[in-house]
Symmetry: none
Subunit: 147 residues, 4 copies
């Protein structure tokens, strides 16, 4: 998978890394059980410090997207406790909705944004709704780019 990092962003690099990987999972470029590149390799690929990659993996683990396997390294393993997820998303969404309201966006406007993003990224969703999950590894097309 190709990871885009903007070194001039105000977002921390490890944070961008997390987000990109989460996006990769959402778009089925990474699938459950897949192994992420080693810290050192990914760091070299992107041209960043090893510590930074390490931090990203640690955060992903804490947030339940990855588990650390002693032999394989970081392995995708999405923890989907719906109630907890909703609460998390809700909390992060408060400032965004507040801004939307201030800018005179209606809930329909926001709904369109959400739908647009689901259309764009929601590969995982399609699978889920076709009941293909959680029969976990149903990988006919999941030849993820490079590791």
């Amino acid at each position: 998978m190709y990871l885009e990092i903007d070194f001039s962003s105000d977002e921390a690099i490890y944070q961008q890394l997390c987000n990109q990987i989460i996006l990769g999972i959402a778009t089925s470029q990474f699938s459950d059980g897949e192994v992420l590149p080693s810290v050192r390799q990914l760091a070299d690929d992107i041209g960043i410090n090893m510590h930074t990659v390490n931090k990203a993996y640690t955060v992903l683990k804490q947030e339940g997207f990855v588990r650390m396997d002693r032999r394989k390294g970081a392995v995708i393993s999405v923890d989907s406790d719906k109630k907890h997820a909703i609460e998390t998303i809700r909390k992060s969404m408060i400032p965004l909705i507040a801004e939307a309201i201030c800018r005179n966006l209606t809930r329909e406007d926001v709904g369109e944004i959400v739908n647009g993003l689901y259309d764009e990224y929601g590969e995982y969703e399609k699978k889920a709704q076709k009941g293909e999950l959680p029969s976990q590894y149903r990988d006919e097309k999941d030849n993820p780019a490079h590791a």
Copy 2:
């Protein structure tokens, strides 16, 4: 308006301040044209340093929620360029939707979160839809043709 700051949060104080004020605008606790407390005043009120408040005001200005009037100080003045707003919100929402998809939340789940938040905070929205807005500048001498 009562502003709550969590000093043990990992979110920067000035950032919390920004969010609280934006929330205040969304819920009509602050309305367009209203003057915010002076940096010193607000700093004293919530027990933080003047400069921290100043930074919050500066960010709010830059993001188009406030303008600095040389006579009155910081004045609520929401810049509602819909197109720009949508783009901003969309960008900040990408990681959230990605996470939602990973956690198997459907777009309907997310829609409910959005609606819940609109119900909770959307005072401003109600006004807007009743046509009471926009009256961006109330002051007779405050809206010069060019900046």
Copy 3:
């Protein structure tokens, strides 16, 4: 004359006032010998503090656009020492030209800007060239005079 003040500008009000008045002179809305409004009246008209108007008048006097008459108040009286003027303009122009160069604007681009502004504001210039002003300089291509 109508004076436009932007209270949200980063430029000080007295400074804007000065610039507007100078612009008024350039466009012949104020002419030599004309009396400016009293400090109090202008302050009331614009809705600003008397001190601010006072400061503007003081600066205009120092810069040689106005003289203070004990009975009439501030009187337009433009001091046009060409050599001194050139040196002043040159100094203020340095950062602008530096910026222009950085942005890849050619000297022709800047020349066009200058000409555009002369076309827009140069009432005074027309008089000068018609010989209505102190015959002085009626030379279309004179001494370089710059550093």
Copy 4:
């Protein structure tokens, strides 16, 4: 590059710093992609406070002369949107041209000032016209598709 600060000037130090650096870019003493000294370093070098340098860098970033690279610090990166640049320059030039007109300077006089300054500072211009620019980002990993 040697930066000269006049501590007795009425111009803010951070503003002088900005102007000096812009001048440095114009004269090719700084070139695109070059890394500026760290805030602490530069502050020590010229004997001012870290925060003052920081403010200068922040302003330069906001005005599109510099970007903040999370790995390298402040990097010269001139944003040359010609249309925007012209509008900016034009606005700052209005008071200068107004003054010039008042002082009976012809457009030719001003043109000479402009040319003089271009002759003195326009190193960057020469390169640009030889086609050596634009190569805005030299770094292979520094130019992500989206910010």
